[in-house]
Symmetry: C2
């Protein structure tokens, strides 16, 4: 790392003693140049640390090596975890990820699509906001750039979808709750995305199959402040006295966290020990679910499988064009995580 700054590849190639296009080849694929040539370049590289100009590279390549990652709300630890894993997979596959958060705003989501378009990414991994997503614009975007939808499925949009099988995970939880106590009612998040509706439907179906009457509790609220929605809805529900069941299944963990805060404030003891009068279960295995009081019984989504498969599928799409199984969603099963709350 000595000597003066290298201005460009021309200058660097002169130092190496090879032609510029050869250096260019090296940076695209080091093994594509002769071993002796590679040696020269790498020796010079140790001494001068040169990196090709990112913009010049991307301007001239047919397609860039960028992958866009979009999550609906990065302040939600579930999605920050998903984003982190997606990023790592992209890097391992030799791509440069750029992560964006829609911050729960459909307008901002559209802006991100515009930014992405100007980035000309090789492909995009998209966890859409859901119901409020501007579907026309997303659809147009997906026609232009290979896009894999993650977590939240929008029928017919994107090359394919990869997520969790709510119709497996929710019944798993329902069965467990029914087996170990009073059949649950369902505390439902605002239907911001298709998962909300699928989980409700899965709950209803599972309850009926077990011969129980389903009870849905719909909470008010429009945005992504699920803890707040769960908390306020919980205060109202638990305070009213007309609770259909002493077991509550929440459609996600963040809602459950809010609900538990409400129960605590109303001095209702939550858990499975004999002194408890309420059981609460969640869905997603939120990173903090382990640290709620009591710790939250929930469903763990298969983060690793989902993220790895998403990237694999997208890379396949990028490198070999249309995937064989067009728009055939891949769904992974959830695992029951038994803790103390239910």
């Amino acid at each position: 790392m000595v000597g003066h700054k290298i201005r460009n590849m021309e200058e660097f190639s002169a130092i190496c003693g090879v032609s510029r296009p050869t250096v260019s080849k090296y940076f695209n694929e080091p093994t594509s140049v002769r071993a002796s040539t590679r040696q020269k370049i790498e020796t010079a590289l140790k001494k001068y640390d040169f990196r090709p100009n990112l913009y010049a590279v991307n301007q001239n390549r047919r397609i860039t090596k960028n992958i866009g990652i979009v999550v609906p709300y990065v302040a939600d630890p579930f999605f920050s975890e998903v984003a982190r894993k997606l990023e790592r997979c992209c890097i391992e596959a030799g791509f440069s990820p750029s992560t964006f958060s829609s911050h729960g705003s459909p307008d901002h989501e559209v802006e991100i699509l515009e930014i992405l378009r100007s980035m000309r990414p090789a492909g995009v991994l998209m966890a859409p906001i859901g119901r409020a997503t501007h579907k026309k614009k997303l659809e147009a975007f997906c026609k232009e750039i290979p896009t894999v939808l993650v977590d939240s499925n929008l029928e017919g949009i994107g090359a394919t979808f990869i997520g969790s099988n709510n119709f497996q995970s929710v019944p798993l939880m329902v069965e467990y709750l029914c087996r170990t106590g009073e059949p649950p009612c369902f505390f439902e998040m605002p239907p911001v995305n298709p998962n909300a509706n699928k989980r409700r439907a899965a709950y209803t179906q599972a309850m009926e199959e077990l011969g129980h009457t389903p009870h849905i509790i719909r909470v008010e609220g429009e945005d992504w402040e699920f803890e707040d929605i769960g908390y306020k809805g919980g205060l109202k529900l638990l305070g009213s006295g007309d609770l259909p069941s002493r077991t509550i299944l929440c459609s996600n963990d963040r809602l459950a966290i809010g609900l538990m805060a409400a129960a605590y404030e109303l001095e209702i003891k939550v858990g499975i020990t004999p002194d408890c009068t309420l059981r609460i279960a969640g869905h997603d295995d939120h990173p903090f679910a382990r640290y709620t009081c009591p710790s939250l019984t929930t469903i763990s989504q298969d983060y690793d499988a989902i993220t790895e498969r998403s990237v694999d599928t997208l890379v396949d799409l990028i490198e070999h064009g249309r995937t064989k199984r067009d728009r055939e969603a891949t769904l992974y099963e959830g695992r029951l995580i038994m803790r103390s709350s239910a």
Copy 2:
């Protein structure tokens, strides 16, 4: 939005009926072209939605309009919130933010610096990992690219630093806790960054000034899994019986969340009501601090002031060169948030 796709600015300018450089001027500053010319361009823009090639633009501009944002751990809601606010401020200032998370890994942090270098950003907003940060490399980076440090100060590195004044916020909490009950002991996070040490020092100083003996409890753990560290350390501490005080001040909220989970498991009731035997306080006003059981008394950092000032300072640095007040840190005061835990 009709007609065929526009390939480049040349083609677009032909449609507008003006020369390409004029269109270029327009995109850099719409008001810099004659009103009648602007009209022509904007009419065409409505019809054909053309956007200049991002890479060609950035290759040729003296400096780009990009701002890099680096946070140590985006899965930490505190930082995802900071990142979100920083992003918004950058956009408002007319720049394009790119956000990266070091994921708690110093090596990854260095990789991000490399990526940033190749992005040639106009400036960088950096919340470093802290103690483990590769300081030599960061220092070299800051010499090359205008960089403002945020949240965690590394003496002498970067153009300036903007964060919270721990020597105001911690004494504020200590004073409150002493006034309303038993003087607190200090449950300390692993010293991953300078804030950890400053908060400890501020605690000791405040206790001594009030005539109390400080008690530091150092918890084991190296990484950013603060909840886990707080939980495990809490189980050990609370189980041992030799607690120096029934009031515990944690050096951050995530640690407090873990500690509260441990207390709950050991059936120790936390809070300020008469039936409680332990008080716990945090620091940062973590987005979920409102929803712990009981809700967490803590210090709220002035997110808005910190993020706005950071971006203002950086933009000033970018546009007018060296700032007047070189390396003079700007510290904002914290607010006491009284809830139920202490």
